[in-house]
């Protein structure tokens, strides 16, 4: 029996959200998040941790098998209601082995199977599920009629083609089918995996539109990063001084840039240093800057950035008030070039915002992620020249993961592809 989990409260901003976990590993999940399992039926306050990182402070409650809503071991986490918090906790639980997101109606179904609902409740349930079905239908319709439908169709087509090629060599070994299908299969698998990864990364953007983009200002110490932040924010958010290395922690200022929610991060200046405190600050700065959605490199002439700018990152010349520059140049002190920088930042982020958002649920992300992982395994086995049926098994799993997005794929699709492509039948 799988252990399943899902938010038990409606999605959206709320004071508190309840995440329910049910199944044999429910308590293990609590133990891995909090380091211990509290006594059953006693609410305790615990810090939920993802490894070393604290996720949230939550009220934790566990129920014994036979004495819970579903009749199985159950854990309930009452976390803060911010969507980002809930998503982070769900992601963390989803990474635990043996746990998966619940299907709609699955908790109730388990309760039923385990005899935990009485007749009156069973009757009341129909209305509830009806509502659930309707919500599900609407969601599916919206998702499927949009870009994700088209994109999933394409992944599906490629994977079915790849699976059909392998299955043809297995099921029709004594027929006139190509012997070495590996190159075509590999190129289909790698292409689809790349596309899945790109889509997964765009999931982040859908989240960003909801929760805000992060823009990090990166540069050497004393390049004028904090002054620029203050100019952008219109207030003294960061302590600025002429003494290099003042900003040792990451300073965040949340603002609205042309309608997009943006958090500007002022990071410690990047330079080689022997100061242990500063080097911690620098390491943190590099880490945060990497994870940000966009980096603004504030450079002085002839400087080479310590962190390499990625595509789309902005490189601007600082302290424009002190020297004349061509290109994008700003001065936090005089405000020169700041408007242009704001325009550039919003241009880049708007482009991304418009390109994102086709997968909108953690369930979708999970499905794509599982599919991508399965494809990686299939690829490794094919490259290692392992038995074809093992790679086929992973391909099947990848296709099954995509099933939850577009409905069932069955063997008939596969056979159809085989019969259309090869002359089978000696």
């Amino acid at each position: 029996m799988d252990t399943i989990f899902a938010p038990a409260t409606a999605r959206g901003k709320a004071g508190v959200a309840v995440i329910r976990i049910s199944g044999p590993l429910a308590w293990d999940a609590v133990s891995s998040l909090t380091g211990e399992v509290p006594a059953p039926r006693q609410a305790v306050l615990r810090i939920l941790k993802d490894g070393e990182d604290a996720l949230d402070q939550a009220l934790v409650l566990v129920f014994e098998k036979g004495a819970s809503f579903t009749g199985e071991r159950v854990a309930e986490l009452q976390v803060h209601g911010a969507p980002a918090t809930v998503a982070a906790v769900l992601q963390c639980i989803g990474r635990l082995p043996g746990l998966r997101l619940a299907e709609p109606g699955e908790f109730t179904r388990r309760a039923l199977e385990n005899g935990k609902l009485d007749l009156a409740e069973v009757e009341g349930l129909a209305d509830l599920l009806d509502a659930e079905t309707e919500a599900q239908r609407k969601q599916a319709l919206r998702v499927l009629s949009g870009a994700i439908g088209a994109r999933t169709e394409e992944w599906r087509r490629h994977l079915i083609r790849a699976a059909a090629l392998i299955e043809a060599t297995i099921d029709f070994a004594d027929e006139d089918v190509p012997v070495d299908v590996t190159p075509e299969v590999l190129s289909l698998i790698v292409g689809t995996a790349d596309s899945l990864r790109a889509e997964i990364s765009r999931y982040g953007i859908a989240e960003r539109i909801r929760d805000g983009f992060e823009v990090a200002i990166v540069g050497q110490p004393n390049a004028g990063k904090s002054t620029l932040l203050n100019a952008l924010a219109g207030r003294e958010a960061a302590i600025t001084s002429e003494h290099a290395g003042t900003t040792r922690d990451v300073i965040e200022v949340r603002m609205d840039l042309n309608g997009l929610p943006v958090t500007i991060l002022d990071t410690a200046g990047l330079r080689a240093t022997n100061d242990p405190v500063e080097s911690i600050g620098i390491a943190r700065a590099v880490d945060r800057a990497r994870k940000a959605d966009l980096r603004v490199f504030l450079l002085e002439e002839d400087q080479v950035p310590l962190l390499l700018p990625l595509e789309d990152d902005l490189v601007v010349w600082g302290k424009a008030d002190q020297r004349l520059k061509s290109g994008l140049a700003v001065s936090g002190k005089t405000g020169q070039g700041v408007d242009r920088l704001v325009a550039e930042i919003s241009r880049v982020l708007s482009t991304r915002a418009s390109g994102g958002g086709v997968i909108i649920r953690e369930r979708h992300r999970r499905a794509l992620f599982d599919a991508e992982q399965a494809l990686e395994s299939a690829k490794d086995l094919l490259c290692a020249g392992a038995e074809a049926e093992l790679a086929a098994e992973w391909l099947r799993r990848a296709v099954r993961s995509l099933d939850s997005l577009v409905g069932r794929v069955d063997v008939e699709d596969l056979l159809g592809e085989i019969f259309a492509s090869f002359c089978i039948g000696k």
Binding site: M1, L119, L125, D174, D176, E387, E389, L415, G425
Partner: protein, 617 residues
């Protein structure tokens, strides 16, 4: 009136295994056939097994059935297909001597206790299928009747624009029985299948043709057999060419199929040569396998050129093929078109939902192939006997057998072309292997008491040996460093691995591990090989277990045939209509219906619970 527990109508592959299975269960069984001589006739190609099909034969054997045993006696060329791939997708196959096969089947059935063979035509069924009426007016009563009558329903043979009613060549179809079946008003469909012309082997120029020999170490079908019983032969290989294709293209309108004389749907995996030439126009040639039909029979079955062209065109295209320049056609190729009963009208026992005492097995259910027929015969035979003897139905899960996959596909999905087994149909392919069919199914057969002592003893001994060998392997527990010392490359993750786990690593076998536990070298070589096959997929099987458990749970929740879906609050009208039509036998079958949602399944579960509570109150 003479009474039997089970009456089987038809002595083809479905009928033979159905009758044998019912008799093995201890049911007094009658097999009624036109003629004793037609029992075990191979009407299509002279071969048994293959990919997916070989798996089915092994499963029939593991249940104590006859097809594997008989095929081993008649096998004249054994090949294990996919030898270079993993064991999960290896399928045993054999060319069979038609006459030897027929004779062995007739001998086997004649010697089966509780089984009576009656030579007669069945012209009608008695009320509620509680027996049959024979051509001479005699009535036989029975608790259950199994129809395994192949393509006799409205069968039409086509050769070019010529057509005539028939089952297969030379058999007369039983019209009155067919009329009775039509009166039941069951859902029906129409299919077609084709055969190639049969050739006179003495007129083939074998010297210029490629040869395909059997395996050096032949692999048998039955777990009880070790080697072939008769002389082994080679097959020949030739191919069609541009001239062959031109002749076919120029005569397409004379083909029964392309001339528009046939409405039935043919199998995509067994296209006629007309089909191949049209659909794969860029292929300059197609392989043709020349399969001898017997050791003392010169007839040759040219596998790959089935056709419904007129006889003169068949002659001219066949003679355009290398090695066949002077060939003589013994019997022209033909297409046969027939009605089948939509198998969604059946329960997983293969009894009709509407007529629970009437079982259908084989081609009548829309399948093709001897192996598919025999496997259905086993299911129908066991269940007809179970019904007659008031025992529980015998159901096969998709997670335990290809038999289960096939029956589930048929009764929940129906067919759109003649249904043939492929390994890709089995979602648990890595655990449903031909090599472990006995481990999967013989315990079930022993529990049903439908295997003889020889098989029981041989199986139990083998299981003891396997368990012993695995226990010895488990005594070896190696850290990655230790494994490295005996030459097994393992990632340095600090995990200790057992000998059984290490056996799945490339290049590791019993010989590699023997220095660590000398008792391993005493393990019988066949047992060693089997343990290695079990080990290869072990990590995958652990992962699949969750899926298997979920499926078994859903399969175990049965839905009574009379469940009132109208009373299920919250189900959409569309789903209610679908459920009422399909009447799925279990939650697993219900969830496979198109458009089902988890929430809808929950509603049905709720309804079932409600009904149970009401019943127990």
């Amino acid at each position: 009136m003479k009474h039997f527990d089970v009456i089987v109508v038809g002595g083809g592959h479905a009928g033979s295994d159905a009758a044998h299975a019912a008799a093995r269960m201890g049911a007094q069984t009658a097999l009624v056939t036109f003629s004793r001589e037609t029992i075990g006739v191979m009407s299509c190609n002279p071969a048994i097994g293959g990919l997916g099909k070989g798996h089915l034969v092994r499963e029939v054997d593991a249940m104590g059935g006859v097809m594997g045993l008989v095929a081993d006696q008649a096998g004249i060329q054994f090949r294990l297909l996919n030898r270079r791939k993993g064991p999960a997708v290896q399928g045993p196959r054999a060319q069979a001597d038609r006459k030897l096969y027929r004779q062995a089947m007739q001998r086997t059935l004649a010697a089966t206790p509780h089984l009576t063979i009656i030579e007669a035509e069945v012209v009608d069924l008695l009320e509620n299928a509680q027996g049959v009426r024979l051509g001479d007016g005699t009535e036989l009563s029975a608790a259950a009747v199994i129809l395994t009558t192949g393509t006799f329903l409205n069968g039409v043979i086509h050769i070019g624009d010529q057509c005539r009613p028939a089952g297969r060549m030379g058999d007369c179809p039983s019209i009155p029985l067919a009329e009775r079946l039509y009166r039941f008003d069951l859902p029906m469909g129409r299919l077609k299948t084709g055969t190639p012309p049969r050739l006179d082997g003495t007129t083939i120029n074998w010297d210029i043709l490629d040869r395909q020999p059997g395996d050096d170490v032949p692999v048998m079908f039955s777990f009880l057999n070790r080697k072939p019983l008769v002389r082994q032969i080679d097959c020949g290989i030739t191919d069609t060419n541009e001239r062959t294709h031109e002749i076919i293209r120029n005569n397409l309108e004379k083909s029964a199929m392309y001339g528009g004389f046939i409405e039935g749907v043919g199998p995509r995996y067994c296209p006629s040569i007309e089909d191949k030439v049209v659909r794969f126009a860029d292929k300059a040639s197609h392989q043709v396998f020349l399969e001898p039909e017997g050791l003392d029979d010169s007839t040759v079955y040219p596998n790959g050129i089935s056709t419904s062209l007129p006889v003169d065109v068949q002659e001219s295209y066949v003679r355009s093929i290398r090695g066949l320049e002077d060939v003589r056609i013994v019997q022209p190729g033909y297409a046969v078109e027939y009605d089948y009963v939509d198998p969604r009208a059946l329960m997983p026992t293969l009894a009709l939902k509407e007529i629970p005492a009437l079982f259908l097995a084989g081609q009548i259910n829309g399948t093709t192939g001897y192996e598919e027929a025999a496997a259905q015969g086993v299911v129908a035979g066991l269940n007809a006997a179970a019904r007659a003897l008031s025992r529980d139905p015998v159901i096969f899960s998709r997670s335990e057998a290809y038999i289960g996959v096939m029956i589930d596909d048929l009764v929940t999905r129906g067919v759109t072309e003649p249904y043939r087994m492929f390994t890709s149909r089995a979602e648990f392919r890595l655990s449903l292997r031909a090599d472990n069919a006995d481990q999967r199914l013989t315990p079930k057969a022993i529990a049903l008491d439908c295997v003889d002592d020889t098989r029981r003893r041989s199986f139990l001994t083998k299981m003891d040996q396997l368990a012993g060998a695995k226990a010895e392997l488990e005594r070896i527990q190696l850290s990655p460093q230790d494994a490295g010392k005996v030459g097994i490359a393992v990632s340095a993750d600090g995990v200790r691995r057992s000998g059984f786990t290490l056996l799945s690593f490339p290049g590791v076998d019993f010989a590699t591990l023997a220095p660590l536990n000398p008792r391993l070298s005493q393990v019988d070589p066949e047992i060693q090989e089997q343990v290695a096959r079990d080990a290869l997929y072990a990590t995958y099987l652990d992962r699949q277990q969750t899926d298997i458990d979920a499926m078994r749970r859903d399969e175990a929740i049965l839905i009574p045939a009379d469940l009132d879906y109208e009373a299920v609050v919250g189900l959409s009208h569309e789903l209610k209509t679908k459920l009422k039509r399909a009447r799925p036998a279990s939650i697993a079958a219900a969830s496979k219906l198109e458009g089902m949602t988890p929430a809808a399944v929950t509603l049905i579960l709720a309804r079932l619970r409600q009904a149970r509570k009401a019943a127990s109150a």
